[in-house]
């Protein structure tokens, strides 16, 4: 049984004149101890789908209208508020995109680190302090016993994200959701933080759900990848499946738009044409069809179900089975 099983999740935002279907039928699994990536363009609903798992969607305007989120055999959507609160931090922790604003400016690092531990683990403030210093040391903060007394504003972005990692680890959760944890950081720091998270997760046998818009970033870390487009998962598979045998034109587009070591030197990067669709006014049929090089008549009529090819490599494209042939024949709009 997977640790986390999201089934047909639908989270919509309601405003006076429109319904934004930010997440519209998303399903994915995370097994205990593995690293899974959720990849897609900006605005495709990645954050909303992860916040839905934590039930931190601003409500109103947001609402989880359908689906199941099964964690450790329990449907989180059926829990009452108190039971859900006890899961947060303790069993599922989250790291956010913006290290500069994710820590409270008027509360010391120490309090921000220890308050969850004393509450969720029931340990004394003194024990929590000792643990917090150890954690800061582990995530690579120099002089942790001094820095723990300080406030967030004296930490750089990278350091703050390390504090966030320490905070996420502090209650030994089974799953850490990292929502674009490195997007706001510069490239060298990005790799350091991701390496750190990966090491810590493996060390403690925690599962990691990494959310990113950069397929290149997760190639090194993820066991499995879910590609998301306009509120749905359109392809999923192992890292190898996705990179070596993509079965969806959007995935292909993503791969063509990042530099790769396994391609001949000098091969061109091709950006995906067109704009991401408006989630409150989706095109008929497949959402990707207006931007798709291989679109056929059928594509603008009906949305293809996500179908399994083999070993959990699945894609939601009508041409999933002879995708390779189509790409090679170069059929183009």
């Amino acid at each position: 049984m997977p640790l986390l099983e999201v089934k047909n999740l639908k989270t919509h935002f309601f405003s006076d004149d429109a319904i934004t279907k930010a997440v519209d039928g998303v399903s994915y699994n995370v097994e205990a101890g593995e690293t899974v990536a959720l990849v897609g363009e900006s605005g495709c609903g990645k954050s909303v789908s992860s916040l839905s798992v934590m039930q931190l969607i601003p409500q109103p305007p947001g609402k989880i209208v359908d689906g199941e989120i099964i964690f450790g055999g329990q449907n989180l959507l059926e829990l009452d508020r108190e039971a859900m609160r006890r899961k947060r931090g303790r069993e599922i922790a989250m790291i956010f995109q913006e290290p500069m604003t994710s820590l409270n400016p008027v509360i010391s690092i120490e309090t921000q680190l220890t308050e969850a531990m004393t509450l969720q683990l029931g340990i004394t403030p003194k024990e929590a302090h000792t643990r917090a210093v150890e954690l800061l040391d582990r995530v690579g903060i120099p002089e942790p016993d001094v820095r723990i007394k300080q406030y967030p504003h004296v930490f750089s972005g990278g350091m703050r994200q390390r504090v966030m990692v320490a905070m996420a680890l502090s209650c030994e959760p089974k799953l850490i959701i990292a929502d674009e944890p490195t997007t706001a950081l510069d490239v060298t720091i990005q790799a350091q933080i991701l390496d750190l998270m990966q090491d810590l997760a493996k060390e403690r046998d925690m599962a990691l759900l990494i959310i990113t818009h950069n397929l290149g970033v997760v190639a090194r870390y993820a066991d499995r990848i879910n590609i998301m487009y306009a509120g749905r998962i359109i392809e999923r598979g192992t890292c190898k499946d996705i990179f070596a045998d993509p079965r969806h034109p959007y995935t292909l587009g993503l791969l063509e738009s990042i530099p790769r070591l396994d391609q001949p030197k000098g091969s061109k990067l091709i950006p995906i044409q067109g704009q991401p669709p408006n989630l409150s006014d989706l095109p008929p049929g497949c959402s990707f069809q207006p931007r798709c090089r291989f679109a056929q008549d059928k594509c603008s009529v009906e949305y293809p179900d996500i179908t399994d090819l083999r070993n959990n490599h699945s894609s939601a494209c009508w041409e999933v089975n002879n995708f390779k042939a189509i790409v090679e024949s170069g059929v183009s709009k």
């Binding site: 947060r88 931090g89 409270n104 008027v106 406030y151």
Partner: protein, 318 residues
Amino acid sequence: MRGYILRRLLLLIPNVFILATSIFFLMRVVPGDAAIALNLTGDGTILSWEAVEQTRENLGLNDPIWIQYGRWMGNMLKGDLGYSPLRQLNVSEIILAKAEVTFLLAFLAVIWGVLFSIPLGIIAALKRGSWIDQLIRTFSVGGLSVPNFWLGILILLMLVHWFKWSPPIFQTDFLDDPLNQMKRLIWPSVAIGISFAAIATRLIRSTMLEVLNQDYVRTARAKGLHRNRVILRHAAPNAILPVLTLSSLLFAGLLGGAVVLENLFALPGMGQQIVNAIGTRDTVLVQGIVVTLGVLVMLWNLVIDLLYVVVDPRIKLD
């Protein structure tokens, strides 16, 4: 920290100088002087113009204006606010005896404002759009539009009419008899504080709504903290910081309110004195009171700036 306070206190000097100069020349524009009041008979007629002229000569009111100005400023530098010929007392003695009531009124008004506005503003933000929010917003619009002297009259009438209350006439001060002093000051300070409470409630409501959308509040919830802790420990302190600034901006206005309400509630403060002093053209006393009120406002601002350092770790003084 000590260096900063010292620098701020030194800055008081030019500020007080400008204030003192302005009020000095302003008072010279007002027609009439203390010599007339000193030579009035019981029924309000002037004894004789010769006597008035003689008094002017004695008080130095016939000297050129620059000489008068220099004399007053010179005395102030020595810490002497002058002598009131009408009351036959040193101005500083009069002010020392009266400053407490005025300051306490304004200070209590801030306290009421804070005590009302923090819970109301936070509740309004949390219950945004509900009838409670509507009610609180109605209160704050009402509090803003009602002048404090009118509210004072209303409170006074209600107290007298329904509770058979009468304004206490005994004299006391806070150190001798804090309880009775507070009893005297509660209602007038509420009347002054309502407008501050109204503005602060609106401010807290809107900053709270903003703060609740901040990433760090989401982080606090993601940690599994209790809702109350998220609101009171993580959101509220950030939302009420601007009220400190508001209190330093509005403190002068609150002192002004105290001046009016003292007269209404028969409280022996600087407000009563200044009204009296203006009526009798006791210029030296008016000048002394205005300078004192000015210094109170400036000191209050300093205290608020220091408080900021205590509550907001991002702010450094030096």
